[in-house]
Amino acid sequence: MSLQQGTVQGMPSVVAGMSLRRRRILIHATIFIALLVLWETGSRMGWLDPLFYPRPSAILTSFWVLFFGSGHIWYHLYVTLGLVLMGWIGGSLLGVGLGALVGFNPLVRRFLKPYVIVLEATPRIAVAPLLIAALGFGATSKIAIIVLVCFFAPFINTLSGVVNVDPSRMELFRSMRATKMQVLRKLVLPDAIPVIMAGERLAMTAALSGALVAEFIQRDKGIGSLILTYTRNLNMASAFACIFTLTIIGFLIFKGMELADHRIAYWKNEAGMKRIGDRRRRAMSEQGRG
């Protein structure tokens, strides 16, 4: 995988012999470790109050304890991720459904527009206490909060994906007498699906944030309440361990959604095109033989 072979003047001889990629990884690691060491020594020398700014070593220890020592975090992870998933599914179904309804219907669109603008300007997460008061404590109100927080991005993206059809291509389709179904399947959806997928990605991130806020407000279980409890007890190392767990989850969600995006909207990237193209070619040649 070496990108480029070459030596740079002024580099130490060990580093100069490596490929560019390896050298970069080494520099990244060096910077990262230097930062950690600086933080650790800063904390040990008393420049940073360890009560508020926990040491990297303490965070690592509590990470270990949370996951493998007491295994305390697993249950809360399970609760939070379950909420996120359910809220996200609800929110994206609602968003895509409403978006399509509004997008295909100019009259509805015209009359709904002011409400959408108002809703867009409102910080939707602010409705959380209201929903809790209305639906009571428990999973229902939490899921309702997540649905409300994450439905908007798929809604707007579906709407704009369905509305923004290339007019010259539309004309071509009309002139060839394409049926409505054909226009939808061959023209509207291929352009709209990547946009909708982008909305789904945003929705997933929003769902995670929504779940955390819901758990901050009603702290019974879940990662959000765990972070809050640890911080209240000034157990900052464990709080940070939870936050880094969320970083990992966020990263996995990001990568997972990217993968799903590439799979579903395969015509937008070369690898996907090649994969499907190969499959179709194989199917065709088999058909030809049969």
Partner: protein
């Protein structure tokens, strides 16, 4: 500004009337649904009750204003701090390949971490006052601004850059006259997203722990099951959101004038007049 003719006003009115009628019809339907007991008034209050709460909060008692301005200040100051840091880092990253390479992993980590998760920790660090709300607003509005500015600055129009170089433009000139103007529309898009997220940060931090601000007011009313007042408070957040959004929209319109035809025409007319006046002297 040209004055709109009476004909144009008439058209605007005719367009506006159906919207208004629909809105009033919805309100009436809602009111009836609650009055007949179809919807429980504890969960969803009557529109008239909400209007009553709005009048009380905004006109007769005016309780909302101090909270309103506190939240607005928190969001704006947090946004300003987040935006300054984000734009500085983005400009630096666009100028130096090395800086970009070694800073971007940290920016990505910051992006995939839900910033809201930091709420309790930030409150522990910055206290119960406005400081923690400003800090959270700054943290969560940082990333969209950073990414948009960097994307805008990294986008290069090779042909134009060649033109600039061929007429002997310095690096500094290329940056200031070519790359910055090209990045401005995206920068403003980032600012608009950032303002909304900054407001969310301020409100969420207020939910978690605060003594004043619309977030506090909102959760207080909700826990008293005073849904009408709670919805009236929510309205103030919408107002803050719209206020911030349109302020940014106006700035966008003024600064990135070449993106909109009407603004472009106005600006070029003004410039032509100035030029004529100068040459006439």
């Amino acid at each position: 500004m040209r004055k709109p003719s009476s004909y144009q006003i008439e058209i605007a009115l005719i367009r506006f009337v159906p919207h208004l009628l629909l809105f009033l019809a919805l309100l009436a339907l809602w009111e009836i649904a609650v009055l007949t007991g179809f919807i429980t008034s504890i969960i969803i209050p009557r529109p008239s009750a909400i209007i009553g709460a709005i009048v009380e909060l905004y006109v007769t008692k005016g309780t909302i204003y101090s909270h309103f301005f506190i939240t607005l200040t928190e969001a704006v100051v947090g946004f300003a701090i987040g935006a300054i840091v984000a734009v500085t880092l983005a400009v630096w990253s666009s100028l130096s390949e090395g800086f970009k390479r070694y800073v971007s992993p940290y920016a990505i980590v910051l992006n995939v971490t839900p910033g809201i998760a930091l709420t309790p920790i930030i409150i522990a660090w910055f206290g119960y006052g406005m400081g923690s709300k400003i800090a959270l607003a700054a943290v969560i509005c940082f990333f969209p601004i950073f990414v948009n500015t960097l994307t805008g600055l990294l986008h290069r129009d090779e042909d134009r850059e060649e033109l600039f170089r061929s007429v002997g433009a310095t690096k500094y000139q290329i940056f200031l006259k070519l790359r910055v103007p090209a990045a401005l529309p995206l920068l403003f898009a980032g600012f608009k997203i950032g303002l909304t997220t900054a407001l969310i940060g301020a409100v969420v931090a207020e939910f978690a722990q605060a003594t004043s601000g619309v977030g506090v007011l909102m959760s207080r009313f909700s826990f008293q099951l005073n849904m009408a007042a709670s919805l009236a408070t929510l309205l103030s957040m919408t107002v803050i959101g719209l206020l911030l959004f349109y302020a940014m929209e106006i700035l966008d319109d003024r600064i990135v004038f070449w993106r909109r035809d009407t603004r472009m025409a106005t600006v070029s007319r003004a410039r032509a007049r100035a030029w004529l006046a100068k040459s006439g002297e």
